[in-house]
């Protein structure tokens, strides 16, 4: 037998399948313009791959990957959120029929059934038909699963407070705070310190070291608090004098600018 470079290859090494009606016909039996994989088709794939890679690199440069503050297991107020592709599973657990005593429904049964059905799809749908329209049940189930995933992800996204999520994870720059200053004394003696922390690093309330707000805005918030969508994010807090308020607001407003 001739081996090596000059060896003749006939077609490719496909498993000879018995001709049964539910085996699709070998594509070499269809008339059409086939193309050699190597090198013709591979070169085209290469080009598409290059275009894809450029788009991908533009994405990575335009949107640096996020990094939140270092993990702090003692922060009990943090609202967790999984990465976007698990959001639909996470959302499922929020419904009454899939949480609390029925947690197992949302956590195990529904995802488990869906995954098993997907794994066993060839045996659940053994008929010879391949067109989606001619196998209505598998198509319907898949469309149902698809729309549930899209719906649940959507619900999860619109019900999440993204601003709060951004604030709670922020990396707080360590700003040197002059604890002897008049502004800090006022801060520490008022109720501010209880929620915003000893170093203004945040706690129940957000960090105040880089608020990017003007002194007037800060004074306004201190007096009136913040109410968003009828939820009190910060209660009206300031009860002291106007003079002290001005000093306090000026102190907080200038914290970030000292570099």
């Amino acid at each position: 037998m001739h081996r090596g470079k000059g060896m003749k290859f006939v077609g490719d090494s496909r498993v000879p399948a018995l001709r049964k009606p539910n085996i699709p016909k070998d594509y070499s039996e269809y008339p059409g313009k086939t193309e050699a994989f190597y090198p013709n088709f591979l070169l085209k794939e290469w080009l598409i791959g290059a275009v894809f890679l450029i788009g991908f690199l533009i994405l990575t440069v335009a949107h640096p990957s996020p990094l939140e503050a270092q993990a702090d297991p003692t922060d009990t107020g943090y609202i967790p959120l999984p990465d976007w592709y698990f959001l639909f599973l996470y959302q499922l657990l929020k419904y009454e029929f899939a949480s609390g005593p029925y947690n197992i429904v949302g956590a195990i049964i529904v995802p488990g059934l869906a995954f098993t059905a997907l794994l066993l799809a060839p045996f659940l749908d053994p008929g010879p038909e391949r067109r989606p329209i001619k196998r209505p049940l598998p198509t319907a189930f898949m469309l149902l699963a698809l729309s549930s995933i899209v719906y649940l992800t959507w619900e999860s996204v619109v019900n999440h407070d993204w601003e709060a999520a951004e604030a709670q994870g922020q990396i707080v720059e360590e700003v040197a705070i002059d604890k002897e200053s008049e502004g800090y004394q006022i801060y520490a003696n008022a109720t501010c310190i209880n929620c915003h922390g000893e170093n203004l690093e945040g706690g129940v309330g957000p960090a105040l070291v880089t608020t990017e707000k003007t002194a007037e805005e800060i004074a306004e918030i201190a007096v009136n608090g913040i109410t968003k969508n009828d939820v009190v994010a910060m209660p009206p807090s300031w009860t002291g004098s106007e003079e002290e308020l001005a000093v306090l607001a000026e102190f907080i407003a200038t914290l970030g600018d000292e570099e």
Binding site: D12, K33, Q70, P128
Partner: protein, 224 residues
């Protein structure tokens, strides 16, 4: 020169049939977007592979700086992101690639499903593909913890609680993943690192090998 070198190796090892088996086959018209534009749906599998290769390469570079330890994990990622030359791009590729590979494998699964390509004789390849999907989701889940920032820690906490709610074996799964039955900490991070960098990639490569060998054996499914 190269030809001679090739011949020298080929004479001894008979390597021609190896690459011929991989590269020498016809691409049928119905999957070729050059002939039918709608055939671009057949590209998703290849793009999944492409992004997986990007993930492996960028991940290899990330481990040059990353330290799997609670004290240093976050700091090493912060340093990589802000100080290392092109670190932001390498981490960006790994971060966005993780999302992209899931998008691509999802589209690929839908293509195979709606063209009925999982039918006889390709049942085994479909099952291997679904397992690959599972492995990739596992890689996404374990990789999410590694930067050791707030969102990573608390998302993993929820994930492990869900795993723990599996009847009978839930508690054992939790201990296996977290390294402890109550604490989610140093042990968890090193376990997730090992799973993310060694166990799951090994499974991924094995399954991908099986996936591709089966494709070459059976060819692409015919036109609808």
């Amino acid at each position: 020169m190269l030809n001679k070198l090739y011949d020298w190796v080929d004479e001894r090892l008979d390597i021609t049939p190896i690459w011929r088996d991989i590269a020498d086959h016809e691409v049928p018209e119905h999957v070729n977007p050059a002939h039918h534009f709608s055939a671009f749906v057949y590209c998703f599998g290849g793009l999944t592979f492409f992004v997986t290769v990007i993930q492996i390469l960028s991940g290899m570079f990330l481990t040059m700086y990353y330290v799997p330890d609670v004290e240093n994990a976050w700091n090493s990622v912060y340093y990589l992101q802000n100080e290392v030359a092109f670190g932001e791009i390498v981490r960006g590729m790994h971060h966005w690639g993780a999302s992209l590979v899931i998008v691509m494998i999802f589209l690929h699964t839908l293509r195979v499903f709606f063209t009925g390509s999982y039918k006889k004789p390709r049942e085994l390849n479909w099952m291997v593909g679904v397992m690959l999907f599972g492995v990739i989701l596992g890689l996404g889940f374990t990789g999410y913890l590694l930067p050791w920032d707030m969102k990573a820690l608390f998302a993993t906490k929820v994930g492990i609680e869900i795993a723990a709610s599996v009847p009978v074996i839930g508690e054992y799964i939790k201990i296996l993943l977290a390294g402890d039955d109550t604490i989610l900490g140093a042990q968890t991070l090193t376990r997730f690192f090992a799973i993310h960098v060694f166990f799951l990639p090994a499974a991924l490569l094995g399954l991908m090998g099986a996936h591709f060998i089966m494709i070459r054996k059976q060819g692409i499914s015919g036109p609808l």
